[in-house]
Symmetry: C2
Subunit: 332 residues, 2 copies
């Protein structure tokens, strides 16, 4: 592990992107999205993912200067084509557009096709919250999870993000599998069992052994049949609204997980609740949860509130990242 500053990470990423021909305004925004995720502790979708992102640029899977184009507009809803541009920039632009539409109409929605992995989905929820909007977005993905009643991967983990403005904002950023493959690997390398059942072993029974699940690739959807159902319909809605690829299409035709479909929804609280009294409603919910009787060895949590402390610590002490990842980034 090494400690680096936010500015070091961002500048390094920006320079690397510019060497790949990304235009300066875009490179700065793209690098900031990677650095922001890393600073918030979401290293898997920040620094750790950056070398993969650059490899996808080098392979021609991600077109550095492609920008989304409007395909169909109907008031508060628009359809855009991401033209295989950088997934995080495409997502940020489409959430921006959803916010603009929400400021005009109360609600705004953009469906985006032919885009790429958006890295940390929570980024776009926080972006909406910073604009005083409720943000909801989701993406489909490569098949990595069995359908309910099936054995082989047929569903994406299809992360779903919901955010409520506030200080700090409330942020839910969850994939439809109980654990990602990255998490399974992390537990295995640490010689730890999973904290809860995470998938099926060779014998067809649920297990908390990460290696057994990595072997079968039968990861458990959240809530068993419920998460499988939710993953299925989120894929359907994203593909149908955007006119883009389904998890089936991506897995069959874009096995390097390009050309995904996403949905961005915003509700403008400047329009819907201009007197700001709604913020008291949010606080009332937080207080009610905080006043609950703590469970064994823990205390009640508000989704997303931990990021403020992580960010502050990382700003103070530097951001811890894997030394090999940092070395790899410096050599890109």
């Amino acid at each position: 592990m090494v400690r680096i500053t936010y500015d070091q990470l961002r500048a390094a990423c920006q320079a690397i992107l510019e060497r790949r021909g990304m235009v300066p305004g875009a490179s700065s925004a793209c690098a900031a999205l990677f650095a922001d995720a890393t600073r918030d502790g979401v290293v898997t979708h920040g620094a750790n993912r950056f070398p993969v992102f650059v490899a996808q640029i080098d392979a021609g899977d991600i077109l550095v200067n492609a920008v989304p184009v409007l395909e169909q507009a109907m008031g508060a809803f628009e359809r855009w084509d991401g033209r295989f541009g950088p997934g995080n920039l495409n997502a940020a632009r489409c959430m921006d557009r959803a916010i603009e539409l929400a400021r005009a109409n109360g609600i705004g929605c953009v469906a985006l096709r032919n885009t790429n992995h958006w890295m940390r989905g929570g980024s776009y929820g926080l972006q909406a919250a910073a604009a005083n909007c409720i943000g909801i977005c989701w993406t489909n993905a490569l098949a990595a999870m069995p359908a309910w009643g099936g054995r082989d991967g047929r569903l994406g983990n299809n992360p779903l993000v919901l955010a409520m403005p506030g200080d700090p904002p409330v942020l839910v950023d969850m994939s439809m599998s109980q654990f990602s493959y990255g998490k399974l690997q992390e537990y295995r390398l640490n010689h730890e069992k999973l904290p809860v059942l995470g998938g099926y072993g060779e014998d067809g029974n649920l297990t908390d052994d990460p290696a057994a699940i990595e072997a079968t690739r039968r990861v458990l959807p959240i809530g068993h049949w419920k998460g499988a159902a939710l993953a299925t319909i989120l894929d359907m809605i994203a593909a149908v609204l955007s006119g883009g690829n389904t998890t089936a299409d991506i897995t069959t035709d874009f096995p390097r997980e390009t050309g995904v479909s996403q949905v961005f929804l915003a509700f403008s609280m400047d329009r819907i609740g201009p007197d700001g009294s709604w913020a008291g409603t949010v606080e009332r919910i937080k207080d009610y949860i905080r006043q609950s009787e703590p469970a064994e060895g823990t205390s009640p949590r508000i989704p997303g509130e931990r990021f403020g402390a992580i960010r502050a610590a990382n700003d103070r002490d530097g951001i811890r990242i894997d030394a090999r990842i940092w070395e790899k980034i410096l050599n890109l």
Copy 2:
């Protein structure tokens, strides 16, 4: 158990509602929602719930002829006040309005406050699908599930519904708890263990013993921390968008679970995909799932597809309901 016809059930409910003063058009629609849910096999939110609904009318919790009124309109988004009217009629009217808004704008959304239990949430998803709309809706509820890290009930099970038009439509209708208290009771009365872990026992460990969970009332959210987070933010969004009550407010001030907040979203496929080619996208996803390798003793499932067969069987053979429930209804 007795077998009754759809028409018997609907006519009985309608007559009972009219004896409570519900105006004829409303009574017919309200009775149909109860009969439809029952015919689809969702008896818990159909016939079994009808006596509770009537008791709430008799207690003055539900105002039979109150209709929702528009409070705030901004293009594709509207805020309505349900004025403590019948929850299923209020919900159907607001989904209807969301569909109208979607036909004009691509997307439409109604947030509804001061309404009552909507009975079967899936009804409003199916209603959107029948109008060739993607429908998304959710409700908050009385606290019945601990927050993550807490022991006592602080979150509603806050059912979330998503529907995709088609024949049959795809329908996801899921609450945020792995099992409802009704389901726990059903397993206990049948002397069965739950099929998967459903909550915490007296010792603070997860268990599949329904009676142990009924005793602690620590039901498990779907996906553990994920479902708790999702329940929290769905409550926040419903209350903030509608200007209505939170789960905290309902539990504190309306312990008979009245005055809840709901959100209804529709996307009109007549507007967004007038050539109908999107239906092929939905079929592609269904086929991809159906072609998956079946798991032990089962086969891959498409969410909601089972309702067609249940409905057909109930139309052919009559609807099975508990004899005591039918007796109770006939005496209302």
